[in-house]
């Protein structure tokens, strides 16, 4: 029950901030709204039992990207006073956005997402390791232990760092390397492009 309350609050904050981003007259204010929406989203991640992601969200989006945006705003001082903040296709944009929202909402609501009804006992940031034996895993603090139908303790699932780390190093190794390269390229690119 509290969770739902939390959710509603966070959703309200996030969406409100998003609207703020879109409707604010000055670019700086919309940037601030953006930061707020990022924090709201971080909150949602917490609700979704993915603490790590929430922290990452805060660290990267709030700490880095919004700072970057603010820097960009500072560097491109141009007074947009007086002019309308939106261009001439705002009506169509709005209509399109609403229509798309309607569609996605409809899909979201009706689609059968094959949710998994297994009883999941969320521990505080449970940890699932690909350990050799169930026993070993059980002892790890925060492990998420669930019973399957047969009653045998099977899976402990959580969005924890170790699992993610292990996954990055095994299944997604290539993606991880590519991401590293992309970051490097972006870094160089940004420097070269924005250099004086």
């Amino acid at each position: 029950m509290i969770e739902q309350a939390f959710f509603l609050v966070l959703a309200g904050v996030t969406l409100g901030a998003a609207l703020g981003v879109v409707t604010a007259r000055s670019v700086f204010v919309s940037a601030l709204w953006l930061v707020l929406s990022f924090l709201g989203i971080a909150g949602l991640y917490v609700l979704l039992d993915t603490g790590f992601l929430a922290v990452i969200q805060v660290l990267i989006y709030v700490g880095a990207i919004s700072v970057l945006i603010l820097f960009a705003i500072m560097l491109t001082r141009n007074i947009m006073v007086g002019e309308r903040a939106t261009n001439n296709q705002w009506a169509m944009g709005l209509a399109l956005a609403l229509a798309l929202f309607g569609t996605l909402a409809a899909v979201g609501h009706q689609a059968d997402w094959r949710l998994n009804d297994a009883a999941v006992v969320p521990a505080a940031g449970g940890l699932v390791l690909t350990g050799d034996s169930l026993a070993e895993r059980a002892t790890v603090p925060g492990a998420l232990v669930i019973q399957d139908e047969a009653g045998a303790p099977t899976v402990a699932a959580s969005g924890n760092i170790a699992t993610l780390g292990r996954a990055f190093m095994s299944d997604y190794l290539l993606a991880f390397e590519v991401a590293a390269v992309i970051l490097l390229v972006a870094l160089l690119g940004a420097i070269v492009i924005a250099r004086e």
């Binding site: 509290i2 700086f28 601030l32 603490g51 790590f52 922290v55 709030v62 700490g63 603010l70 760092i161």
Partner: protein, 418 residues
């Protein structure tokens, strides 16, 4: 402090139980649980706030005394015995001073900035374990949480700088942001070495790994990470000093150049807020330092473990705070470009090197299942190498930086100077 994890002190559990029963009687069943939680968390929050508020006040006092002493003067001694009431006086001054809002300032952003500066500084303490069980919440991503929250302090700074519509404020804000964001990287990189050793991100975990031989990396009892990775400790401390804009790195509100930096236009309680958050972050940084490198509430020797954990923790933190103040009193301010250069050209490479070394030696030790003592020897050897690298980097950097800072010197003829 969370009763569920069974680690919090008995008093806390007893209090929590009493609270539950009280509420159970008063509220319907499904409401009782949640409200109990809320109340319990509120209680905890106020407790923590009180503790850090008091320590912040007396940190200011200590600062003025220490710096005074360093500068061979007495420091605050007028108000109360040894100036002990000076902080109160400052607080009262802050509160009563006229709160001037510049006409051009952006109403919302200008006013919101000081308000938003404080929460991150306070939130950080949620994960700091004062004692064995004395931690607000032991997040599995504890350290990362700390870093994330401390990095959000940047936003209000920018808001302050921009909101006050003052050129100097804006430039100060820009410098502060640049500095904070830049130094965040060496800070985190240097700590990763430690995390490798600790095997977990949660603060309690890190502290316990420095004491009890639990984590898979086979660390050894009673060895604080400062001994295992001194270079990382040095990098961390320097980065942290820059992170909290103190002493050698306090360009943002360098009086001589840009008046008071981003909080130029602020006065009264708004300025107080900034001042407050500054000190909170200083204390938090000190705490983090103790957690990561000085073994937190762990006693140096098993024998001394009778003394309660929080005493050890407070002492070590006080030690680090004094270190900051010491720095402030003695070192001259760095130039902006030197500061940035120092960060990117010395700290980051060194931190990477340290991380590589830590990872390598740790892996080798684990591979070879070496005894803790042997591992310690390996680390010391590696650290010697790191020190050599650090010295070489410093020398190379100093020789080049000796002249006028790169980029600021007048354009040479080749570059088509007039």
């Amino acid at each position: 402090m969370n009763p569920q994890d069974g680690l919090s002190p008995p008093a806390a559990t007893a209090l929590r139980a009493a609270l539950d029963q009280a509420l159970a009687r008063v509220l319907p069943e499904q409401l009782a649980g949640p409200t109990a939680d809320v109340l319990w968390w509120a209680l905890l929050g106020t407790l923590i706030l009180a503790v850090i508020q008091v320590s912040m006040l007396y940190a200011t006092w200590l600062e003025r005394k220490a710096v005074g002493r360093i500068q061979n003067r007495l420091g605050a001694n007028r108000v109360g015995k040894f100036g002990l009431l000076q902080p109160i006086a400052d607080m009262v001054k802050m509160l009563t001073k006229e709160d001037i809002t510049p006409s051009g300032a952006h109403r919302w952003v200008y006013n919101l900035a000081p308000i938003l500066v404080v929460p991150p500084a306070i939130l950080v303490f949620a994960v700091i374990p004062v004692g064995a069980g004395l931690v607000a919440t032991d997040l599995s991503v504890g350290f990362l949480f700390f870093i994330a929250v401390s990095s959000t302090v940047v936003i209000p700074i920018v808001m302050a700088g921009w909101g006050s519509r003052n050129k100097y404020a804006l430039i100060g804000a820009m410098r502060a942001v640049a500095q904070i964001v830049s130094y965040e990287i060496p800070q985190v990189l240097s700590v990763i070495g430690v995390l490798l050793m600790a095997g977990t991100l949660s603060t309690q975990g890190i502290i316990s790994s420095q004491g009890v031989a639990v984590p898979p990396y086979g660390s050894f009892p009673g060895v604080w990470f400062v001994l295992v990775q001194p270079v990382a400790f040095v990098i961390f401390m320097l980065a942290t000093v820059a992170e909290i804009e103190r002493s050698p790195f306090d360009m943002p509100e360098a009086e001589s150049e840009i008046i008071a930096g981003y909080h130029t236009e602020y006065s009264g309680i708004k300025f107080g807020m900034f001042y407050l958050s500054l000190y909170f972050l200083t204390i938090a940084a000190a705490c983090l330092g103790t957690i990561l490198f000085l073994g937190g509430w762990q006693a140096p020797l098993a024998a001394l473990s009778f003394i309660p954990g929080w005493v050890w923790f407070s002492g070590k933190t006080l030690l680090l705070v004094l270190f900051f103040m010491w720095l402030r009193g003695t070192l001259p301010r760095l130039r902006v470009d030197q500061m940035m250069g120092f960060c990117w050209k010395i700290l980051v490479p060194l931190a990477l090197a340290n991380l590589m070394v830590a990872g390598l030696v740790g892996k080798l030790a684990k591979q070879a299942d070496a005894s803790p003592l042997f591992t310690l020897a390996g680390f010391t050897l590696a650290n010697l190498v790191l020190v050599a690298v650090a010295v070489w980097l410093l020398v190379a950097w100093r020789s080049r930086v000796g002249g006028p800072a790169v980029g600021l010197r007048p354009p040479t003829v080749a570059e088509g100077a007039a």
